[in-house]
């Protein structure tokens, strides 16, 4: 927020009224704090879906019902890709802390690629499963939860691409100014953690019923 308002104030400083000057007090940058508070809230929404899933599952006689079994190999590969991308994105963060823009760009590009592969894999899974959103209550839950998570992966991907786009300009990110980089990373870790729970609930725990 600060980096957008500061240049305006500096450029017009000699001619402004006192009221405009009053706007130039430094405003603290609390974006990371805001993001973390938001993610607490987001995780509770996923918590709501998990709770609904477990309640519906508890009431079902067979889970998943006949005809809506899940694939295991492809999602397992996808999980490996998404989990390892969380480490890759951290390398980008380490790089920018050493003022290495090239490193940041490289690792964030790799992360974006891995995220995209995950989404393509999920789309392929959807296309080959043979049942849709409204087939039965398991399919309802399956598509709602993975779809909502996929939406979050997509948003995380956009954030990473946004970091890549902004990093074209020399000096936009540096070792002491990289809040945007960190926020994308935090969000990506969040998406990753949610997926691990989802994978356990939807793919692993459905193998033993």
């Amino acid at each position: 927020m600060t980096d957008a308002t500061a240049p305006t104030g500096a450029a017009i400083a000699p001619q402004v009224t006192t009221e405009v000057q009053a706007n130039d007090h430094a405003h603290p940058d609390l974006r990371v704090w805001g993001l973390l508070t938001f993610l607490v809230s987001e995780s509770l929404m996923f918590g709501g879906f998990f709770a609904a899933y477990l309640m519906v599952r508890g009431a079902a006689s067979q889970w998943p019902p006949e005809g809506t079994e899940v694939e295991l190999l492809l999602p397992a590969i996808n999980t490996v890709i998404l989990v390892s991308s969380s480490f890759v994105i951290h390398l980008g963060d380490v790089a920018i802390k050493k003022n290495d823009i090239g490193g940041l760009r490289k690792w964030y590009a790799v992360t974006a690629l891995m995220g995209a592969v995950f989404l393509v894999g999920q789309a392929y899974e959807y296309a080959t499963l043979g049942y849709g959103l409204s087939s039965n209550i398991f399919a309802n839950c399956f598509y709602l939860m993975t779809g909502f998570h996929g939406l979050h992966v997509f948003i995380g991907l956009l954030l990473i691409l946004g970091v890549l786009w902004r990093s074209r300009r020399a000096g936009h990110y540096s070792d002491h100014k990289h809040t945007g980089v960190e926020m994308a990373e935090i969000y990506w870790h969040f998406v990753d953690i949610i997926w691990i729970v989802l994978f356990a609930l939807l793919y692993i725990l459905t193998q033993f019923s």
Binding site: Q15, W33, S41
Partner: protein
């Protein structure tokens, strides 16, 4: 900061819409928390009037036992929209508006943590408000399933429309939820991270504690409603069956989602009003708030307990006995921190030098009605009584004593109390007192007889009733119309005073608090130098200064 004389300098045409100091700023995407606060308050008041008109129609229908004034379907739409508007477009946004105005001033910050997020959150309110209104023009009419939208009623589509009123309703509530979450992120971050030097947690005014507690509830509980609303939307529009028992779903599941949020939401609504009480009673009694620290912490306790009580709305939803007992106990627990607060307020007024100005009158009236609502609340928490009066006017009477008698009356108290600060003008005391008297009589006349009718079995949400309840309903309708009229002196007062009231000094009430140390209205960015706070918030009867640098706070 350079001090360039402004006289004779032509203000350049800059892309900086902020400091225009006229009415237009209230129609702009301003990022000033004070402008946003007033935008919230005025917008929500407009919706309060719309919701109030709907309730007038409801009371007019109910003045006679048969359903003779409006069509039954329209009646369903009336109470659904009345509830939805009053909660999502009056109480929530007006409280957020008040908090927006006061919190940064009270904690000594120049603005909220995320000013642009703040503005975006506000502008969603008129957007979803108008969206909700457009459902009147749909072939299906508006949503008709009540403000809680239980399936299977809410997933019906008798007119077979592509877009139903219910669909628009869910969408509007979802946007409201996004706006609330944005606000909650902003408030929590602001209160935790932007307090002025020396403003420790236990030097924050009790109001700020209540806002923090309320917004923490928003963060923790609102996602449940979002999740439930998403599933309801899928059920209604995409053929899923989360809440459809024929296909393995569970309609009670929605009730859990709904009340997991919507009961704590009651505390989101009432906690800031508790904060208003804690601010106003000391000022007009000239005494420190009794037991400040306990009052402050009790807000957090209420937040904590609030997420453990939701099933008391579902005693009659096939809930097993052990669960009813558990939630009965947890619900009654809420009375403990709330009781602490009530005792503290009474002890604050006790032997004080009372000054019965309009804000104090509204607070006293609201406190009285809150105690009554608290008593009926504990009654309703008890399973046998609740089973007896479930879905009757007893419940309607009870919660209107909270949402109108306590919250709306408390909101009026706050509006009068901080009106001089917000506008730089004094309001007319006489009109304020007329408003109070009409509203106080109207509230009790309207909602007290409902308890009687409810105890005798009058069911809510039905447009016709047995003639034995006629007397209670005539009284309630008269009270309702009186309440409607009571807003007239209020509007006259607010509009007239803002235009022509006496200029207000910085601190007309001789109140203690950072907001009273700056000019009325405060300048953009509030404080010239950040205050350095050196003492607690309620130093009435003492001579300790609140801040070390009082002279440096104001410009010039």
């Amino acid at each position: 900061m350079t001090n360039v004389p402004v006289e004779g300098i032509k203000i350049p045409d800059i892309a900086h819409p902020e400091p225009q100091n006229n009415w237009r700023k209230y129609f702009s995407f301003s990022t000033d928390h004070k402008v946003i606060g007033i935008q919230y308050l005025v917008t929500s008041f407009v919706f309060f009037l719309i919701g109030g008109l709907l309730s007038m129609v409801i009371r007019a229908e109910l003045i006679t036992p048969p359903a003779d004034l409006i069509d039954r379907t329209l009646y369903n739409s009336m109470f659904t929209m009345h509830g939805t508007i009053m909660i999502f477009l009056w109480i929530f946004p007006s409280l957020v508006g008040l908090a927006n105005y006061l919190v940064p001033l009270m904690i000594g910050a120049r603005d909220m943590a995320f000013p642009r997020l703040n503005a975006a959150a506000f502008w969603m309110v008129p957007v979803f408000g108008i969206l909700l209104m457009t459902s009147y023009f749909l072939p299906s009419g508006t949503a008709q399933a009540g403000w809680w939208s239980y399936p299977p009623v809410s997933t019906q589509n008798p007119t077979d429309s592509v877009i139903t009123g219910e669909f628009i309703w869910i969408l509007a509530v979802a946007i409201s939820g996004v706006s609330s979450i944005m606000g909650a992120v902003n408030f929590v971050t602001t209160i935790v991270r932007m307090r002025a030097p020396g403003m420790t947690y236990f030097r924050m005014p009790a109001y700020v504690w209540t806002v923090l507690s309320a917004q923490l509830i928003q963060l923790a509980a609102l996602p449940a409603l979002t999740a439930g609303a998403i599933m309801l939307l899928f059920d209604a529009a995409a053929g899923t069956a989360f809440f459809n028992p024929e296909k393995g779903g569970n309609p009670v599941l929605f009730q859990h989602f709904f009340w997991f949020y919507s009961h704590p939401a009651v505390y989101v609504m009432v906690l800031p009003i508790f904060g208003v009480f804690s601010e106003i009673f000391p000022v007009y009694s000239r005494k420190p708030l009794f037991g400040y620290k306990v009052v402050a912490v009790s807000s957090l306790l209420i937040s904590g307990v609030s997420v453990l009580v939701w099933v008391h709305h579902m005693y009659a939803s096939g809930t097993p006995g052990w669960m009813r007992m558990l939630f009965m106990a947890s619900t009654m627990l809420v009375a403990v921190p709330t009781g602490i607060k009530v005792f503290a307020w009474v002890a604050t007024i006790w032997k004080g030098k009372l000054r019965l100005d309009t804000p104090m009158l509204f607070c006293l009236g609201a406190l009285l009605m809150f105690v009554f609502a608290g008593v009926t609340g504990v009654m309703l928490a008890s399973v046998p009584i609740d089973i007896h009066v479930n879905n009757t006017y007893f419940v309607v009477g009870h919660f209107h004593y909270i949402v109108f008698g306590t919250i709306t009356m408390g909101m009026f108290a706050a509006l009068y109390h901080w009106f001089p600060k917000m506008t730089g003008r004094m309001y007319f005391e006489g009109l304020g007192k007329v408003h109070f008297i009409l509203a106080f009589i109207g509230t009790n006349l309207c909602f007290l007889p409902m308890h009687l009718a409810g105890l005798h079995g009058m069911v809510r949400r039905v447009s016709s009733y047995d003639p034995e309840f006629a007397f209670s309903n005539v009284l309630a309708s008269l009270g309702g119309f009186l309440l409607g009229m009571s807003t007239i002196p209020f509007i006259l007062n607010m509009v007239g005073s803002w235009a022509q009231g006496k200029p207000a000094p910085d601190n007309p009430w001789r109140a203690i608090g950072l907001e009273w140390l700056v000019s009325s209205p405060p300048p953009v960015e509030n404080f010239e130098a950040l205050p350095i706070v050196v003492s607690g918030p309620y130093g009435y009867g003492k001579s300790d200064p609140l801040v070390e640098n009082a002279a440096a706070l104001k410009e010039g």
